[in-house]
């Protein structure tokens, strides 16, 4: 208990609940804190500053800030089944049972072996990796492993299964207010009264922003904290307002599409929650008001990264919000008035402020007078030129300092302390503005980059806009809220503009917001080096690194950023960017405005991968589509394969058959008796309208205008580049009505393409397309016995099967089910594709299997279908073609009509290069060893003994064992293949295996004349 109280001060009206003790663990040690504490505040309450080791030099690092700007205090949270690295201790709310551990140290925080890097830091300058590990080039793979181990931040959980729920949510609003400080609350409450749909989001666990830290004054004659409380209550009770705390607006994109990560139950640390751990919001806002506040800048001097050196505003926050005094002997180092409030807070909390070191020579304001009256020593025109200590700050060197000349002008004064507050001015949080490609302008008065506020879609207000004095923030917020509401009201008549709007009045000590920009404190002492004057704490880059980069010739801010990695860590340089630009500018003798600023990119703070995935995991990762015959396949032991989103029966192993045995049996049975394939997934499109024939003539290479009613024709579809795009059989049902089939995988793409043509190119054609892929279930009955089975199944007109020529269609009834029967074949056997309305699909299949039993009917899967069609040399679009194959390459010149004046791809096919004899052309391959099956995708060469890299002739597109030929067969696309028939090729193998020898042959291996097909 004693330890718990060591840095807690008496209650100050803070946000923690002293009645609720919380137990947690950090680095295997047990601690307690109070409900409302962050991990950082609870650790500081125990006097713990040191929480991590730095990225490159493994220097000890302490808690530095109090919010999302924190560069040092990155910890790993350990759960039952998973862990999450790189979370900011300043944003983790503690709960009972929380287990956290520090990162980037081995074996422990206090003794870290790799801190040896710190001793040798002069050997690790900017660009160290580029300079050192480039030779020999092949060694990089080796170096990389070592570097990855030594550097890096945190460790990922090895278990990829996360038991927690992460959800997504879409939302829409008229106005999004980002941030709930003075500016955010004021704009939101005005908007709320207008009736507009408002969303207000804040990354912290409660609304109020800096008013939670600085509230020692009145707003509208009531205490500031009460004003916040009232305003938030009004917002929460307004039906048109959605209040989202613990919600980080991480990205703002075109058209005000905003991504927000809400920590819904994460802070409770409970399991079995109905609500998700996090919710990722995808919000569309008509207007956005950015009231994101500002982040304090550190000062850059030697040793400024020691634990115990913190942002002045953070120290004040820990006192006022969490009743935690981070150190009892404090020194304040500042270039502005704001740190004086910190001095007051420390003094009030019972700490001893040894002195305030102010870079300004003659600072004057109401607050300074007040501090002076208390008796705090102010050293104006001075600077801290170095800090000393082992694992915590112990003392500082102070000297008179001339900011203009950038040099100390007096002897050094040593002073001991255990806390140093630093304040180098404020940076507006312009990240979201910058993400939307908003420009930034340098403001000389306030020494900061602020948004240009030129957009109509979003606007920054308050500290985010470079307005730091509270009175002015309220005036600005009121004005901007009113104008935004006026704009919204123009588009939406439900939004009222007449509500009385008043500017809140405050009685706060006036401060003088004119910081004295001083980017780097030059020690001017031989023993003090700026190699420990840190600019980017998370990436360990120093003032010396930036100077070196300039010396080596870098001048662009973007290049220096990348070369020194300043601002490239997970905190995206929230505390470092402007200091780096300041130092760069003075090295280049340029102004900051001339030097320019880098761009902030999403996300504002890292977003958990779990939140990005949401519920699109496991069975919901991708829809699985099944045909109506699926249950039959399943109960008959089918193995399935995924074709696009479809699940298709692949093969049906019986009694311990292997894959090959089952496929061989199915192929054999289909050729000798009969086979049945579920072909329901084929794309099907109804083409209707007076110009349908003309339309088909334009999209297929062959002629469809002359196709008689009731007849079917195979067609090849090209894109404008003359390459094969899709194929299928189209049947004429009536003069103005066709039934088109497409490949399974291409169905959606073909329909979109055809619709695009009709809607954008051929507006004159009166044609309507409707997808009926799922309206019809299709059973493909194939083999010598197929006609007999079909006849046996017909419930009427049994004789129609007698006169049923190849490539025709008949409508009839099978087992009472209305059917469209097509005599078409993909196996080379006599075959019938039976289409029935999908509700009868399962019944049709069972019936055919039952009747077919006495005819030796065998169900076959997609693998057998592949073998059967390959025996016939039939192509599969997407397997024999890859978007670079023309009909001529497939030796299918016969399908290109010479009579038609035009079709898509015709012009491209007439280009000279399309008939170049050395194009890859489709051929068959027969292996010398009939049992050897060539792997698909392998490459063929003429001479297997040539030097590497070998000259490749082409690749194997399909390869199977054919049980009917008792021979391995393959289809290949080979350079000049059509003229190479009879030649021998070799297919080199991996792993030292002998190359496979094969002969180039015609791709039709079986029934070359097609006698079985026409039967």
């Amino acid at each position: 208990m004693n330890r718990l109280l060591s840095h807690r001060i008496s209650s100050n009206g803070a946000v923690i609940d002293r009645q609720k003790l919380v137990h947690f663990e950090f680095d295997q040690k047990k601690y307690t804190g109070y409900e409302g504490d962050t991990l950082a505040s609870a650790l500081l309450a125990h006097g713990i500053h040191l929480v991590g080791r730095s990225f490159k030099y493994h220097r000890p690092r302490g808690i530095f800030g109090s919010g999302s700007e924190e560069p040092n205090a990155l910890v790993r949270l350990i759960g039952d089944k998973s862990s999450e690295p790189n979370l900011r201790a300043t944003q983790i709310e503690i709960y009972d049972g929380l287990i956290a551990e520090s990162q980037n140290r081995f074996p422990s925080l206090k003794i870290d072996f790799l801190s040896i890097n710190n001793v040798f830091r002069r050997f690790f300058p900017a660009g160290f990796y580029y300079k050192t590990f480039m030779w020999p080039a092949s060694f990089w793979m080796f170096y990389e492993k070592l570097i990855r181990k030594a550097a890096g931040l945190g460790k990922l959980s090895k278990k990829y299964h996360r038991p927690e729920r992460y959800e997504h949510k879409y939302a829409h609003c008229d106005l999004l207010v980002v941030g709930s400080g003075a500016a955010g609350l004021q704009t939101a409450i005005i908007a709320a009264k207008s009736g507009a749909r408002v969303v207000i989001a804040d990354e912290q666990h409660r609304f109020g922003g800096w008013l939670l830290t600085d509230n020692d004054f009145n707003i509208n004659q009531i205490p500031a904290a009460s004003w916040v409380h009232e305003t938030v209550k009004n917002l929460q009770s307004a039906p048109n307002v959605t209040c989202l705390s613990r919600t980080t607006v991480s990205s703002m994109m075109d058209d005000n599409f905003v991504i927000m990560a809400e920590r819904v139950t994460e802070h409770l640390g409970k399991k079995d929650m109905l609500l998700p751990k996090q919710r990722l919001w995808k919000l569309r806002a008509s207007k956005v008001i950015l009231a994101t506040g500002a982040i304090e800048r550190p000062l850059v001097f030697s040793g400024n990264d020691l634990p115990g050196i913190m942002l002045s505003s953070a120290i004040r926050t820990y006192i006022n919000r969490y009743d935690v005094l981070s150190g009892r002997r404090a020194i304040i180092f500042t270039n502005n008035d704001d740190a004086y409030f910190t001095a007051l807070a420390i003094h009030k909390a019972g700490g001893f402020v040894r002195c305030i070191v102010d870079l300004r020579v003659n600072p004057k304001s109401q607050i300074i007078t007040k501090v002076r009256k208390i008796g705090i020593n102010i050293l104006a025109g001075h600077a801290v030129i170095a800090a000393h200590g082992l694992r915590h700050i112990a003392s500082v060197d102070i000297a008179k300092y001339n900011s203009g000349k950038q040099a100390p002008t007096s002897s050094i004064l040593h002073m001991d302390c255990n806390l140093l507050a630093m304040s180098g001015g404020l940076n507006p949080v312009v990240h979201l503005h910058s993400q939307r490609k908003g420009k930034l302008v340098w403001d000389e008065r306030t020494s900061c980059y602020r948004p240009d506020n030129k957009s109509d879609e979003w606007v920054s207000v308050g500290a985010a806009n470079g307005t730091f004095e509270l009175e002015r923030i309220f005036i600005e917020a009121t004005k901007i809220a009113s104008t935004t509401i006026m704009k919204l009201a123009k588009e939406n008549n439900k939004i009222k503009t007449k509500e009385l709007v008043t500017v809140p009045q405050i009685d706060k000590d006036k401060q003088n917001w004119t910081p004295l920009p001083t980017w780097l404190i030059q020690a001017g002492q031989p023993h003090v080096s700026d190699k420990t004057a840190f600019v980017d704490f998370q990436n360990d880059s120093t003032a010396a690194d930036i100077k070196l980069a300039v010396k080596e010739g870098y001048s662009s801010v973007e290049h220096v950023k990348r070369y020194t990695t300043t601002g490239m860590a997970t905190d995206q340089g929230k505390t470092s960017n402007i200091n780096a630009i300041g130092i760069l500018a003075s090295c280049l003798n340029k102004s900051i405005a001339e030097t320019g600023v880098t761009t902030f990119r999403p996300p504002y703070t890292p977003v958990s991968l779990g939140a990005i995935a949401g519920r699109n995991i496991g069975g919901l990762f991708d829809p699985v589509r099944k045909t109506r015959m699926h249950s039959w396949h399943q109960s008959n032991g089918a193995k399935f394969e995924h074709v696009g989103q479809w699940m298709r029966a692949w093969y049906y192993p019986r009694d311990g058959e292997s894959f090959q045995q089952a496929v061989n049996r199915e192929v054999y049975a289909t050729r000798h008796y009969a086979g049945l394939l579920d072909a329901s997934t084929l794309g099907k499109i109804e083409v209707k309208g007076p110009d349908s024939a003309e339309f088909l003539n334009r999209v297929y290479t062959n002629n469809f205008a002359d196709l008689p009613i009731g007849k079917a024709r195979y067609g090849l579809m090209l894109k404008e580049d003359g390459m094969v795009f899709d194929d299928g059989v189209t049947t004429r049902l009536a003069e103005d009505h066709f039934y088109m089939t497409t490949t399974t995988g291409g169905a959606a793409g073909v329909l979109s393409w055809l619709e695009e043509l009709l809607q954008t190119e051929w507006l004159d054609l009166r044609v309507y397309l409707t997808s009926v892929t799922e309206q019809w279930s299709v059973a493909s009955l194939s083999g010598p016995n197929s006609r007999s089975i079909l006849t046996a199944c017909m419930s009427e007109n049994k004789n129609i099967t007698d006169d049923f020529p190849f490539m025709t269609m008949k409508k009839s009834f099978i087992a009472g089910i209305p059917a469209r029967i097509f005599r078409i074949s993909f196996t080379g056997e006599m075959a019938f594709e039976i289409n029935v309305p999908a509700r009868y699909g399962a019944a049709l299949w069972s019936h055919l299997m039952k009747i077919g039993k006495e005819f030796n009917l065998t169900a076959y899967g997609t693998e057998a279908m592949h073998v059967l069609r390959a025996e016939k040399g039939f192509i599969i679009v997407g397997q024999e073609t890859d978007g670079t194959v023309t009909p001529h390459d497939l030796d299918m010149g016969w399908i290109i009509s010479n009579k038609k004046s035009d079709f898509i791809g015709k012009r491209a096919l007439e280009r000279k290069s399309m008939n170049e004899p050395q194009r890859k052309q489709l051929v068959g391959l027969l292996t010398a060893d009939p049992s050897k099956v060539i792997p698909e995708g392998a490459h063929a060469v003429l001479d297997p003994n040539q030097e590497m890299p070998m000259e490749m002739l082409g690749h194997i597109s399909s390869s199977y064992y054919s049980p009917n030929l008792k021979h391995s067969i393959a289809l290949a696309l080979l350079k000049g293949g059509l003229n190479r028939k009879g030649q021998t090729v070799y297919i080199p193998m991996l792993d030292g295996q002998q190359p496979i020898e094969a002969k180039i042959v015609d791709p039709v291996f079986f029934d070359k004349k097609g006698e079985r097909l026409r039967g």
Binding site: Y170, D272, L275, P276, G619, L620, P623, Y768, T770, Q775
Partner: protein, 205 residues
Amino acid sequence: MVDTISRIVVGCTAFNDKKLPILKKPESLKAPLIELSEIKHLGKLNVRCGKKNRDALGKLIHCNLPIQINQINSKAGRFAISLGPDEYLILAEPGSENQLEKTLNSSDISKYISVVNVSDALCAIQISGPKVRDVLSKGCAIDFHPDSFYKNKAVQCDLALANIVLVCLEENEFIFICRTSFAEYILDWFIDASYEYGIFVSDGI
């Protein structure tokens, strides 16, 4: 904790004889806040026609085709949903679709229109309950504010990873139409998305 009160085998057409947990409800809730059921065997016709024939077609269907897109008209158990400038989906009482298709295809205007029976290609699922808009907004980018998505409005949109036609019947009552092969996925998605509210899945109407 979610507990499964009972399991029955439901012979739904769209759900492929999937074994459905009929009621999933958090213990803390008295009743589930979402209900879902399939409207089985509804007749569905995809109709394409230009402005000229719109009124004539409406007369034949006994339900006027909506003039504005994203609207529905309903009359005597029939719905006409506008899907685009010249595309409509007609929902008709089960079993009436074949006759309706014949009537339209043998009419005077049959040359200029396209009528395709898609009763088996699509399925219709009804969802309702006080939290139905919240569940939909977990997977659908449409604005579900009642001022924006109101009675008799229809949209074609994505729900999670499936394409649907969504129709608002009452403030907290919707039907959506999707390709039948996506019905199982959508059902799984809905049960999952309703986790915090509880869902009652019924055998279908």
